[in-house]
């Protein structure tokens, strides 16, 4: 496992080590998965179109100008894993196809990387941030409380400060 860790550090920009996020610079020359315009998807697995089966419900009929249907649900299946993604989030087939692929990459990421998958990492990071935020808020409250007490003590002349 210890030999795997540096490998993983090289492949992906972010890794958690014992629950703490680590930012490791990627060595040059290693292939990175880039999804245009989406920073969050940088580290998701690449999709091989040959491994995908896509179905678009357009009803029977000739299609094209001869058909005007509003159904634009896209069903994407990843043959090796059997994962199926269905997307009809938008009114554009093209966008639904792209989103189906994004969702597929997310799901494959979980399957392939388990604990190290982006979804799990993000969750851990979010929890950590939440924890830090709560701590900061509590610290602030505590400081305010002490300040108020100090003020109260100063403003009553002659009273004994404790």
């Amino acid at each position: 496992m210890s030999r795997l860790v540096p490998f993983i550090c090289c492949m992906y920009g972010r890794v958690t080590w014992r629950g703490l996020p680590l930012l490791t610079p990627l060595p040059p020359g290693l292939p990175r998965v880039l999804a245009a315009g989406k920073k969050d998807l940088v580290d998701f697995p690449v999709l091989n179109e040959d491994e995908l089966e896509e179905q678009f419900v357009r009803g029977s009929g000739p299609g094209g100008q001869a058909t005007n249907k509003t159904s634009n649900c896209v069903v994407l299946k990843h043959i090796p894993t059997g994962i199926v993604v269905k997307c009809h989030q938008t009114r554009s087939v093209d966008i639904n196809r792209k989103r189906a692929r994004d969702i597929m990459r997310e799901k494959l990421d979980v399957v392939y990387k388990g604990e190290l998958s982006e979804v799990v990492l993000k969750k851990k990071e979010a929890e950590l941030r939440k924890h830090e935020k709560r701590k900061k808020a509590n610290d602030n409250l505590e400081r305010k409380r002490q300040f108020k007490e100090a003020l109260a003590a100063d403003s009553t002349p002659g009273s004994d400060t404790v």
């Binding site: 678009f56 299609g63 001869a66 005007n68 509003t70 554009s92 196809r97």
Partner: protein
């Protein structure tokens, strides 16, 4: 042959909207009287939720044989509640009571759908790739296949960074038969360095394309003209300085297939945007004949066609348009041959100098 069930003699001649769908270009002959409009369910006396309204209308569409009963009611309610799809509605919106106004609007819009008006005309908009476009009968509604045409054009155009044409280094593209402007506007939106000229024989289409261009802030890079490429090719040629790409989703249906079209199309969309003549190739042939005079050397033509066309087009071009080379056929998402790509061979002739 593709036949969809169409009630015999069912050729409604109603007008919708201020101008009516027949407007100033009425070409249809009505041989049968309009069918009596199907009665709509009564407006509810009390308040109903969005969900209940959807269920009432879905049932009603089903009873009246209106196609896509669930999609229709879903898109209409979503639009009324400010969303594009029912899935993207805020959680709980569907179980909220509709205001009186919204209920009446729902009834009004769904009643239009009862007459088989396409949803896109009912809500007066639709999406094409990442754009939302205004829709208005009888201007042709963009089909999902055409999104792929834009996609493959963009891939091509982006792979040839060297092809600069204009003095300002910008590339120009010509669209024949722009309809609502979907193709041109989508290209312009995705390629900031592109300029486009769009023509259509329908003034309604020209107006709608201009309107959509304005709404999207793309009017500075798009010129739109009302020209019929069949009647007035010279004007098209003179308007376009050499363009690096010509794109079209021309009318490509076979005339004999027009009568079996579903009512949504037959009754509401401009037949001139659909009927490509006996073999569906009337407009396509004209485009390819004129293309060499408009394109730069190595400029390309991108066409959406009927699945039967690609081999016919290849043969015809080889025999009749010496300057054009058939590059390839691409398939659509349903696996049908749908897109033809052709390229202008390098020529030494400058067509503009021909004084015939």
């Amino acid at each position: 042959m593709w036949r969809t069930s169409l009630r015999a003699g069912c050729r409604g001649c109603r007008g919708f909207g201020p101008k009516g769908i027949w407007g100033s270009h009425a070409v249809r002959r009505c041989s049968a009287p309009a069918p009596a409009p199907a009665p709509a369910p009564a407006l509810p006396a009390g308040r109903i939720t969005a969900r209940q309204a959807v269920d009432v209308w879905k049932r009603h569409f089903e009873e009246r044989g209106v196609t896509e009963p669930d999609n229709s009611s879903h898109y209409i309610i979503a639009h009324l509640l400010g969303a594009k799809t029912i899935e993207s509605l805020e959680h709980g919106k569907l179980t909220e009571f509709l205001s009186r106004e919204k209920t009446e609007q729902m009834w009004q819009l769904c009643t239009r759908r009862l007459s088989r008006m396409p949803v896109q005309y009912v809500i007066e908009e639709w999406d094409f790739r990442d754009l939302t476009l205004k829709m208005r009968p009888p201007v042709f509604i963009p089909r999902p296949e055409t999104e792929e045409l834009v996609e493959l054009m963009l891939t091509d155009l982006e792979m040839e960074p060297g092809a600069k044409v204009g003095a300002d280094g910008q590339r120009t593209c010509l669209e024949v038969g722009c309809g609502s402007g979907a193709i041109s506007l989508s290209l312009l939106n995705s390629m900031p360095q592109l300029k486009s000229i769009a023509v259509d024989q329908s003034q309604d289409a020209v107006d709608l394309t201009r309107e959509n261009a304005l709404r999207l802030g793309l009017q500075d890079r798009l010129q739109v003209y009302c020209i019929d490429v069949l009647k007035d090719a010279e004007t098209v040629v003179s308007l376009c300085s050499p363009v690096s790409a010509l794109v079209s989703n021309p009318p490509y249906l076979f005339s004999e297939d027009m009568t079996s079209l579903e009512p949504e199309i037959f009754r509401f969309e401009d037949h001139a945007a659909l009927d490509g003549g006996k073999d569906g190739l009337k407009v396509i042939k004209q485009i390819l004949t004129v293309a060499p005079q408009i394109l730069t050397n190595h400029g390309r033509v991108y066409l959406e066609v009927d699945p039967r066309h690609p081999p016919l087009i290849r043969r015809w071009v080889e025999a009749n348009v010496e300057e054009m080379h058939y590059v390839e056929t691409r398939h659509d998402i349903n696996g049908r041959p749908r897109f033809c790509i052709l390229q202008k061979k390098k020529s030494n002739k400058d067509h503009r100098l021909d004084q015939d």
